[in-house]
Symmetry: C2
Subunit: 188 residues, 2 copies
């Protein structure tokens, strides 16, 4: 069973369960991906992260780096691609790690999981974890990337005022009325 | 100094620093907000979370509950409102906690932080932390909410195929070509 950075497979699986609610295969595979990316960028670089799916993978980044959703150092693109990049936050130079489907021939349960060729309930979870632990980062492709400037920008809400309708503080750039009062509220 | 659920103020501040990169005031205030929401919903309810800003607050939810960005039990609305809800994931009944600006009269540094009336660098960080620790959840308003069904839906990428251009696995519902090849790539 290949370690995941400083963690044994079992220890990392427990960490995933404590954070993510259950030991999701995707977060564990993601752990190997994050560690591989960390190994490929210079040690002293301050990096930000891009994750190309909101599913599972962001939690691997949050567990193994200081990039989090709430600090903005991790950006999530909802492409549904199982890939992530770590890059120098000042220059945009970085590495992208993805699951390479051409490397999955030897790992049929990982292939089944990635392409969802069987419903999750019918997948053999033990066999899947066993393959994940033995494959480690062998299923990954790595490539250098240069992040576009617009994707590196820090985003700010700017000045804060009070919504003219509900009175709650909100970004004045959104107008006199907040987004929720403007019709986007998730509540009745 | 008021505790934050099972944590002392100082212990939680250290947890925030370890996860978020630094002890952000917003995540610590968020801690009191999350704990207040947890106290207001029935103990045995399986809950999901809605956070109304991507800034800081999502990390408080991720540190104190099993709702994470990667497991989809926490949804983030980019309204720029400092508020969150925890709600029964089956019925949508829940509670919303917000910072109530009318309660900030006694806490001028928190008010300055929330409304950004001074640049961050000119704010008195010690005085701000002192107020946060003494105010705890006293600055919060709480109200029951009913989450709309469309906001409760689990989102799925559906079937996975290979992009006709780059060959990477991606959701077939996005078409023959993945979002990145379709022009949305954050990389050159």
């Amino acid at each position: 069973m290949k370690p995941i950075g400083p963690y044994t497979f079992e220890t990392f699986k427990e960490k995933v369960a404590a954070f993510h609610g259950y030991p999701a295969p995707g977060v564990i595979i993601g752990g190997y991906m994050v560690v591989l990316a960390q190994e490929k960028i210079p040690r002293d670089v301050l990096f930000d992260a891009i994750v190309e799916t909101p599913k599972c993978l962001p939690d691997a980044v949050q567990l193994l780096t200081l990039c989090s959703y709430g600090n903005g150092w991790m950006k999530v693109y909802p492409f549904g691609r199982y890939a992530l990049s770590l890059y120098n936050k000042y220059t945009g130079e970085g590495v992208r790690v993805r699951i390479d489907p051409d490397r999955l021939k030897a790992w049929p349960h990982i292939e089944m999981w990635l392409f969802k060729t069987q419903p999750k309930k019918e997948q053999d979870s033990d066999a899947l974890f066993d393959e994940i632990a033995r494959a480690g980062a062998d299923i990954c492709g790595v490539a250098p990337v240069q992040v576009k400037e617009e994707a590196m920008k820090r985003f700010s809400f700017g000045d804060i005022g009070r919504c003219q309708k509900c009175g709650e503080p909100h970004p004045v750039k959104f107008g006199e009325v907040c987004k929720a009062c403007g019709g986007e509220s998730p509540y009745f």
